[in-house]
């Protein structure tokens, strides 16, 4: 499990978990789970397109994720957010089904893109993942205060000169960046699970942002590490463990959270 070819996997997955935990905190805070699901899922089509043209799949993922983020935020300006997200997602996936019908991509390759591939990380792939992770985290750090203000009290943010649209677009672009680096490892369908479940659990454990982010990262790391270990031992897909462990840890987090609140406020 810790042999040399698995080292890259452990490193890559840990990077993915840290980014997922941090970005996920804001996903949950802003109730953007749908967008966090739509961008990676839609970007899968980009990977199919890249396979068709013989390009690197990460490139296709990146292009589609960024285009999807910009498209959804443009559509969302004039209509309801959830409608914009749904339409952006189906347009990307519709294009993806066209690419898939044109190309002769291997079914197992598609499966790996959708549900993740533990053993697929090479040393050469590690650098782009690390680079994109640093960019994501720096971007979040740069917009941390306005993003936080906009997420918690959008009206107050507006008064203070925080532009709602700009922040929304910037946030979607960060999700898109996170997507293009993580999809090849965790899979298009389960990436959002890594963003939603640990952060959701973290919110019931702490109300302080910094503590919640720390919890979120820790729970994401536990999810991914346990997922890899189980996936390696049983040879089942990583996506299964990430999705179900995430939901289980969320349930546990909520139980602990309510119990602790009861201890603090015994009369309530």
């Amino acid at each position: 499990m810790f042999s040399s070819f698995m080292v890259n996997t452990w490193v890559a997955a840990s990077i993915v978990a840290v980014v997922g935990g941090v970005v996920g905190f804001f996903v949950v805070l802003r109730s953007s789970a749908f967008v966090a699901h739509a961008i990676p899922h839609g970007a899968f089509s980009g990977a199919a397109g890249a396979a068709l043209l013989g390009l690197n799949t990460v490139f296709g993922l990146g292009v589609f994720a960024l285009a999807g983020a910009l498209g959804i935020s443009a559509l969302g300006r004039k209509g309801r957010h959830d409608v914009a997200t749904a339409l952006g997602l189906v347009v990307m996936l519709g294009t993806g089904s066209l690419f898939l019908s044109w190309s002769a991509v291997y079914a197992p390759q598609i499966y790996a893109l959708l549900f993740g591939e533990v053993l697929g990380v090479s040393r050469a792939e590690l650098w782009p993942i690390a680079g994109l992770a640093v960019i994501c985290l720096v971007a979040i750090a740069l917009v941390y205060r306005p993003l936080m203000l906009n997420s918690i009290a959008p009206e107050l943010g507006e008064v203070r000169g925080v532009r709602d649209r700009l922040i929304e677009t910037a946030f979607l672009l960060v999700v898109a960046l996170a997507t293009s680096m993580t999809v090849p490892v965790v899979g298009a369908l389960l990436m959002f699970s890594l963003m939603v479940a640990p952060a959701g659990a973290a919110r019931s454990l702490s109300d302080r942002p910094s503590a919640a982010i720390a919890w979120s990262i820790a729970i994401a790391l536990v999810t991914v590490w346990a997922g890899i270990a189980l996936s390696y031992a049983l040879n089942w897909p990583l996506g299964f463990f990430v999705g179900t462990l995430g939901a289980a840890l969320y349930g546990l987090g909520r139980l602990v959270g309510t119990r602790r609140r009861r201890l603090v406020l015994p009369t309530a």
Binding site: F34, V83, V91, S97, S101, L190, F192, S193
Partner: protein, 285 residues
């Protein structure tokens, strides 16, 4: 004539059942979807379709009819969303995300087990993308029956649904049980969405659920008119898509035809954009 309707379009049995099933699914999706858009529950609608695919893959693994797998899992997922996300819209978003994540995780496992035991790796593509052209005539009766159930729920609760969607406080003041209406609505949504996800794929299911109603609500403010317009747009987009997909068998590059999902999604999206342009003219003029 032949340039538009490729030879055999009107005599082909597969095309016939695609046209019928497509129209039924589009009408149900439009009517249920109008409330989905009004209640801002597109995410739940999409999630139920994809989670339904989990049931579909489990049913393929068990060797039973996928339709029942789709519906069973979607109803369970709808109940889970309802129970987890009762408090406010904010936690509903999170609840939907968690249920979707867990469901997709299970789908990954079932598809993997299916691929290793039966070597049908194509299942993940069929389940997610579906195709109208593989629907057989034998499925039509059960599809119609389930559509009637979903429509019946919506029509019986029509006034409550409208009131709770547009003005929940007024509805609560009038003594309408918000929880009951919301649970019944999610049940109708689960049936409608899993039905369409099984027949036309999870992608198209979301497209038909959200696109035509969103376009219709741009064009008219009256709810009943919106239902009719949405159904019309849905059926039109579906039939145009089927027509072009049939024509595309002679198109480059492969000679296998372009996927019908692609065409229908493009038409739905175009109708939405047109409605938005027109709607802006309405509000301005």
């Amino acid at each position: 004539m032949n340039a538009l309707f490729a030879p055999g379009f009107f005599t082909n049995g597969i095309v016939h059942s695609a046209l019928i099933v497509g129209a039924v699914v589009a009408v149900v999706a439009a009517i249920v979807g109008t409330f989905t858009v009004l209640r801002a529950q597109s995410f739940a609608g999409h999630a139920l379709g994809e989670v339904g695919a989990t049931g579909g893959s489990a049913a393929i693994l068990a060797g039973t009819n996928p339709l029942w797998g789709f519906i069973g899992i979607a109803v369970v997922a709808a109940a889970a969303i309802e129970l987890l996300g009762v408090r406010q819209p904010r936690s509903r978003d999170l609840a939907t995300g968690l249920v979707l994540g867990a469901g997709l995780g299970l789908a990954a496992l079932f598809l993997y087990l299916g691929a290793t035991s039966q070597s049908t790796t194509g299942a993940s593509i069929t389940v997610l993308f579906g195709s109208l052209f593989v629907v057989s005539m034998q499925m039509v009766p059960s599809i119609v029956a389930l559509s009637i159930v979903a429509l019946a729920i919506v029509l019986v609760c029509y006034r409550w649904l409208l009131l709770t969607s547009l003005n929940p406080d007024l509805a609560a003041a009038r003594g309408v049980s918000l929880r009951l209406v919301s649970a019944l609505y999610l049940l109708a949504l689960a049936i409608a969405v899993s039905l369409s996800a099984e027949t036309i794929g999870a992608v198209l299911s979301t497209a038909l659920l959200v696109g035509p109603p969103a376009a219709a609500l741009r064009l008219t403010k009256r709810p009943t008119a919106a239902l009719v317009v949405a159904a019309g747009i849905g059926v039109l987009a579906t039939w145009l898509g089927i027509l072009l997909a049939y024509d595309s068998y002679t198109w480059p590059p492969s000679g296998r035809g372009w996927p019908v999902s692609f065409f229908i999604v493009v038409f739905v999206f175009c109708f939405y954009l047109l409605a938005q342009l027109h709607g802006r003219k309405l509000t301005r003029g």
